[in-house]
């Protein structure tokens, strides 16, 4: 099987418009949460989110750096974030100017969990208030989930596989895993892979709040709301943004002298077959996806130094993931660290698995693991697990495991190692 390595990284997050700014803020224990600015949330049960900050903010995002004005106007923000992250990743890899021959073997696998919800909401209001002849001609292709991959392929002339995963909060991890397989199976030499989301709009916040998924007890202290594993956690904080990596066949990367961040060595997938929103009560789906990734990787549990948990800060989900990790790691629990970066940037839904995979890669690069913020009072079951409370921790990081679990009972786990 052909080996697959990561040679480029790109990101838009609530803590920065690029990878390095975000990572610096993550390691400095900053929180991207605040009262929602994009609309007036006064009447909502949940009034907080981790929004991507405007360009003039200390760690804001400037879409104009990589996305044409016209496209910004026509498409939903999740597509704009995705184009930015993909552009950054291609530049980082030194592949933003490939020959036609190379571009025939380069593709995209950038998905989203929900897609263009803000635009569906606003154009529905146009339809209701002004009639069908006022609906934008760009409505459909400005909202479709596969239009990040579509737009990026057009911008850079990438003629290889054009794919888009939709598996709720597992999208980012599945996108990377599927794309890695496309390279391993010789469908492509280079793949842009990741996920994006921007669903912080009235119907998005209302819908997730009605599903009892969002935190509602910390509206006056937003930065305290995302608190995975803490006894006072009460739901997730919605985030937004995008993460994209450049995956490349190992020999292809080596031949051109590319900087290699990591090798993707294990990918596991499973279904809970249990409930649309609640995880399986024994965490068996998550357990099986981790176990499959481990088996594929050929590593031992003692090789894995860091787990970036799904850890969304929901009462049930955190507990079940923790239980599954404890059962899997057994005697090796004491030597690894596990944290949830959702405590800092919220839950990026379809983007989560991608940005978190990038944090895993940076943990290996810098030999430091990011913290779990707000873990003031760990629940009883946390005993014996290093959840990296409050502050980042310097330690040896040779191989990493990233978990993502989504509505519908869809699970993905990725294992990467430094080379």
């Amino acid at each position: 099987m052909r080996r697959v390595v990561v040679t480029g990284l790109g990101m838009v997050s609530p803590l920065g418009g690029d990878v390095e700014t975000t990572w610096k803020n993550i390691i400095a224990s900053k929180s991207g949460a605040a009262r929602i600015e994009r609309f007036d949330p006064t009447e909502y049960k949940c009034r907080i989110a981790c929004e991507v900050k405007p360009a003039d903010h200390e760690y804001g995002y400037d879409p104009a750096l990589d996305v044409d004005h016209k496209i910004q106007r026509q498409v939903d923000p999740f597509i704009v974030y995705g184009i930015s992250a993909a552009s950054q990743a291609l530049r980082d890899a030194g592949l933003d100017d490939m020959s036609e021959e190379e571009r025939l073997r380069a593709g995209c696998s950038i998905g989203s969990g929900i897609g263009g919800l803000p635009g569906i909401e606003s154009e529905s209001l146009v339809l209701a208030n002004k009639g069908p002849s006022r609906v934008s001609p760009h409505f459909v292709h400005g909202r479709l989930i596969n239009l990040i991959s579509g737009q990026v392929s057009i911008k850079y002339g990438l003629m290889g596989p054009n794919h888009a995963v939709v598996t709720a909060c597992s999208t980012g991890a599945h996108s990377i895993g599927d794309a890695a397989r496309m390279i391993a199976m010789d469908d492509a030499d280079v793949m842009l892979a990741g996920g994006a989301e921007s669903a912080i709009c009235p119907i998005g916040i209302a819908g997730f709040a009605q599903a009892r998924a969002l935190s509602t007890a910390f509206n006056d202290t937003p930065e305290k709301a995302s608190r995975p594993y803490d006894v006072n956690r009460d739901g997730f904080v919605m985030g937004e943004g995008a993460g994209v990596v450049v995956l490349e066949e190992y020999e292809h990367a080596k031949k051109r002298g590319a900087k290699i961040y990591a090798e993707v060595i294990g990918y596991g997938l499973s279904g809970d077959a249990y409930h649309v929103t609640a995880p399986h009560p024994e965490g068996s789906g998550g357990y099986r996806s981790m176990e499959m990734a481990l088996r594929k990787s050929g590593l031992s549990l003692s090789d894995i130094d860091y787990v970036n948990a799904h850890g969304t800060s929901t009462p049930l989900g955190d507990e079940l993931e923790l239980g599954a990790v404890k059962r899997l790691f057994g005697d090796n629990l004491s030597t690894m660290s596990m944290s949830s970066t959702k405590s800092a940037i919220g839950h990026l839904l379809g983007g989560a698995g991608a940005v978190e995979s990038i944090f895993c890669i940076l943990a290996m690069r810098d030999q430091i693991v990011p913290p779990t913020l707000n873990l003031d009072e760990p629940s009883e079951s946390c005993a014996g697990v290093d959840l990296v409370p409050h502050v980042a921790k310097e330690r040896k990081v040779r191989a990493v495991l990233n978990n993502s679990f989504g509505f519908g009972g869809t699970n993905a786990s990725l294992i990467m190692k430094a080379i």
């Binding site: 044409d68 004005h69 016209k70 910004q72 106007r73 026509q74 002849s133 006022r134 934008s136 001609p137 760009h138």
Partner: protein, 77 residues
């Protein structure tokens, strides 16, 4: 430039993200200003909103340049 021309030009700049100097009366939306057919549909909708006129599809299809748009709008006001 007439008042209609100023307002048309402003809409074109905002929708297509082109520099104002490029939006001359002779400029073709597709050949000179980088628009595609759907961009023109959107521009026509914006003109209808701005000027309170209705531009039927058969008339919209004949609007190729900035001047075509200005002339059509002026003829209906």
């Amino acid at each position: 430039m007439s008042e209609t021309a100023d307002r048309v030009k402003k809409i074109v700049v905002e929708h297509l993200g082109v520099e104002a100097e490029k939006v001359t009366e002779d400029a073709s939306f597709i050949d000179d200003l980088g628009a595609d057919s759907l961009d023109i549909v959107e521009l026509v909708m914006a003109f209808e909103e701005e000027f309170g006129v209705e531009i039927p599809d058969d008339a919209a299809e004949k609007i190729a340049t900035v001047k075509d748009a200005i002339d059509y709008i002026d003829s209906k006001q």
